[in-house]
Amino acid sequence: MNIIACVKQVPDTEAQIRVKADGSGIDETGIKWVMNAYDEYGVEEALRLKEKCGGEVTIVSLGPARAMESIRTALAMGADKGIHITDPALEGADPYVTASALAAAIKAVPYDIILCGQRAIDDDAGQVGSILAELLDIPQITIITKLEVEGACVRAIRPIEGAQLLIETSLPCLITAQKGLNEPRYASLPGIMKAKKKPVDVKDAAALGVALDKKLQVLRLVPPPARSAGKIIAGDEPAAKAAALAKLLREEAKVI
């Protein structure tokens, strides 16, 4: 089976996000870069499929030079090869351009199934997987917590509000991984050593023939909306504080 897993390198979730003074972007100095957590579930599921069905796992990533680290991490986990799409012209690409670049790279190789994370924790957009599936004209099952592939038959569990859906489709298809799909393995030391020699193709926008015009433009970044200051409930005893709180919630906040 030809398995593709898409990964994105993003700031660590603990990172202090400082917006530049002109609001044009964030200050990247001192940021620790990691593989997007949701993509880790995609890579792990890809590796499990390979263990079950045989075949190869190719990691595809769009990002600056430093993104190669995340590709190597996935290779160290057990993936076989990579495609690194990197080009200054693709910096700040919106979801449509990103998906277009990934589609161009993936169209050129054989694939049966594509695994993406359900969203990246930097832009939180959650679009690239679906747009990629659309551009490749393949079905999608998004935000899944379980995957089963038997021959060409694909089944996945997709949690929705108040229920879980069991959805069926066939290969080739694209899935996006939700937390709970699996527990990603750690790269072993032998894995890390082997990863250095695994082949990674480097492609630029021109080589892929990607149109660069963005569909979504960021005007500026702003700080989060401020909440007005709250109050600490005074009282001698827990019971007194509880009573005061209940009254405020009822009469002042009017939420109960």
Binding site: I26, Y38, E134, L216, Q217, A243, A246
Partner: protein, 325 residues
């Protein structure tokens, strides 16, 4: 030239979901500023009453696809029908809910219509004739103002943030035949496993009582369940509690859990890490109960109680029971 502010309404079992009214009211507001009409695409099966409900919230034209092929929701059927209508009628704006269905459909449509989509927005407004959307990024550590460079300008709205305001629209129902090619429908819902507990999903809850590391174990949640029962609330959990195995993954609120926007969020024994705040900062009223006065959550709370939650929560339950009769 693209004209019209459209929504894709959401329904289940023939009943419109609350997000549909939030979408309609927001569309009405934008349309009034632009001097345009509000359209709604309503897909499902057995929708006799639903169309009229949309008219009450400002919808002028309801494009109704009432057909078994639209029940339940599938990406392929809905994307095909909406894209077909959009290409025919050329609206300038298309709004969906940032629910699980809305996220799946809006992103596929953004691809099919080759347009810009702002996801999980907390504000939309018109500036110079274009829709400017405000959306959280980096788990809400900052926000981005974005515009689409193509039409329809798409946005998915965070549930329970935009008001649902009754304002009569023309309410003309236009039934359409999507004439879908069965070969286009490549996914099938084989089974719907309804959540047996019958409790309201966190993303739709009006009141949430959540417990974190301070709960100390799964047994601690009994007092939260009691309070939740009295308030008609759903119980949530922080990542620490879920990773410790005290609560199940679907209960997790936060950056790698659910994004919730209840009217009231009571955080018990939760320190308020930025990743948790990412999931509940849209809550209208936040209460923090924590014995650590330095816990970061107090900076975000509207009401804070610095106290042992095991002493306060049972008392709060008692008080609420009396107040609510």
């Amino acid at each position: 030239m693209a004209k019209g502010v459209w929504i894709v309404a959401e329904q289940r079992d023939g009943v419109l979901r609350k997000i549909s009214f939030e979408l309609a009211s927001t569309a009405r507001k934008l349309a009034d500023q632009l001097g345009e009409e509000v359209g709604a695409v309503l897909l499902g099966c057995g929708l006799a009453n639903a169309a009229g409900d949309l008219a009450r919230y400002g919808v002028d034209k309801i494009y109704l696809g009432d057909n078994a092929v639209f029940e339940p929701y599938t990406t392929d059927a809905y994307a095909a029908a909406v894209a077909k209508l959009v290409r025919e009628k050329d609206p300038s704006i298309l709004l969906l809910g940032a629910s699980t269905q809305g996220k799946d459909l809006s992103s596929r449509l953004a691809g099919r219509l080759a347009t810009g989509l702002a996801t999980d927005c907390t504000e939309v407004r018109i500036a110079d004739g274009k829709m400017v959307a405000l959306r959280p990024i980096y788990a809400g550590k900052c926000y981005a103002e974005v515009v689409s460079t193509a039409t329809p300008q798409m946005a998915s709205l965070r549930p329970n943030v935009f008001p649902a305001v009754e304002k009569a629209g023309a309410g003309e129902v236009i039934a359409f035949d999507a004439a879908l090619d069965p070969a286009q429908l490549k996914t099938k819902v084989v089974e719907v496993q309804k959540d047996s507990s019958g409790k309201v999903d966190l993303t739709e809850a009006t009141i949430i009582v959540a417990g974190g590391r301070g709960m100390g174990g799964s047994e601690g949640y009994a007092i939260l369940e009691e309070l939740a029962g009295i308030l008609g609330a759903t119980v949530g959990a922080s990542r620490a509690a879920v990773d410790s195995g005290w609560r199940a993954q679907p209960d997790q609120v936060g950056q790698t859990g659910k994004v919730v926007s209840p009217n009231l969020y009571i955080a018990c024994g939760i320190s308020g890490a930025i990743q948790h705040l990412a999931g509940m900062s849209s809550s209208k009223v936040i209460v923090a109960i924590n014995k650590d006065s330095e816990a970061p959550i107090f900076a975000k709370a509207d009401y804070g109680v610095v106290e042992d939650l095991f002493k306060v929560v049972p008392e709060l339950a008692k008080e609420c029971k009396i107040l609510l009769g």
